[in-house]
Amino acid sequence: MSAPGASDSAHPETWPLWEVFVRSSRGLSHVHVGSLHAPDETMAVRNARDLYTRRSEGVSIWVVPSEAITASDPDAKGAFFESPAGKNYRHATYYTASEGVKHL
């Protein structure tokens, strides 16, 4: 079996971690619902079915090795996420519609 988590040689007795995304119905996006352990990608999809779609929550499941996700740095919150404050011109509602433009 080729397991993406097989590289986790430091803890060979522990199954690797997977992030689970479920699409609740056609037309919507897959949404992150949680994580789980599984020995490989095939079993991860099955475990996700058992853990996260028990109450008819989904029509599609994605799983991604947790270690494949690159996340933003929580300590960089200021530099990353506070810059938009005060920049109201980035919102459509900042602008007033011109009287001459119809059907807007």
């Binding site: 095939t42 475990n47 058992d50």
Partner: protein
């Protein structure tokens, strides 16, 4: 559960459980089973009930939390099938599903020996699931065409769930067979230990002669079963076990020493507190 149960707790807020969701598990209402049909429904109901009880023993003990949930899900699916079959079987003798599950003694159970075999290690549980799931799939696939509308409806729902159980077992067969030396050794031991109990599943009984339009003859399920098993074992690079054959006799109420203790645990509460409700 007969009444709506409500619980307003300051810790958990308003919790409401309704009887409606549990009733959903019954796929077909109405109709009274004949004595022969009821006998056959007991085979299916008892196989599912006993296996569900066995799988329930894994809860909180499985190798990983995720597998714990997977085995419990399968057990609950089987319990749902058992409820439908036992309820229908009970219509022939004016008994409820609970009468049949809790108040019959060991010799009145019609389950096969395979489902009562102990869980053993994880490999034993998977081999038992592998054989039973492939067997049940072939039954339900055929039973959908039954002239009995209730059996046909139960089979129509059960076949989808058993299809998943089959896939779960196949996936683990592959991983145990091709995983490590230790997992392969345990898997081959489990195959040798459990395969003697497979033959009994395909033995025709006199009742089958009287149910020709109602239920598939067990012996006619064997070719499809063997083809499915062989395909997976080929991928596992394993041979189909070809050794001893167990005594069998479960359909006539003759069981191994394993069923009694299982039933004692299953039935003790109902028998100590008759009529108890939640």
């Amino acid at each position: 559960m007969t009444d709506d149960a409500r619980n307003d707790s300051p810790d958990h807020g308003h919790v409401e459980l309704t009887a409606v969701t549990l009733a959903d598990e019954f796929v077909a209402e109405g109709g009274t089973a004949t004595a022969d049909t009821a006998e056959y429904a007991l085979w299916l109901g008892d196989d599912s009930l006993v296996l569900a009880q066995r799988l329930g023993e894994w809860i909180s003990r499985a190798p990983e939390l995720e597998e714990d949930v997977a085995l419990a899900n399968i057990a609950l699916d089987l319990l749902g099938h058992a409820r439908s079959f036992l309820r229908y079987a009970g219509t022939a003798s004016d008994r409820t599903e609970d009468d049949l599950a809790y108040w019959r003694d060991e010799h009145e159970f019609r389950s096969a020996h395979l489902v009562e075999q102990p869980n053993g290690d994880f490999a034993h549980t998977i081999v038992r699931q592998f054989a039973v799931s492939h067997y049940l799939y072939e039954i339900y696939e055929r039973l959908r065409a039954s002239a009995d509308p209730v059996l046909s409806a139960i089979a129509g729902k059960a076949v989808k769930e058993v299809d998943y159980h089959r896939d779960h077992a196949d996936q683990w067969m592959l991983r145990l067979a091709l995983g490590t030396d230790e997992s392969r050794r345990r898997l081959t031991t489990a195959l040798d230990d459990l395969w003697p109990w497979v033959a009994e599943l395909f033995v025709d009984e006199p009742v089958n002669d009287r149910l020709l339009d109602i239920a598939p003859r067990p012996s006619t399920l064997r070719p499809a079963f063997e083809a499915g098993i062989a395909a997976v074992l080929r991928e596992c690079e394993l041979e189909v076990p070809n050794g001893l054959t167990g005594a069998g006799g479960g359909r006539r109420g003759r069981h191994s020493e394993h069923l009694g203790p299982l039933l004692a645990e299953l039935q003790v509460l109902a028998r100590q507190h008759p009529g108890a409700t939640w």
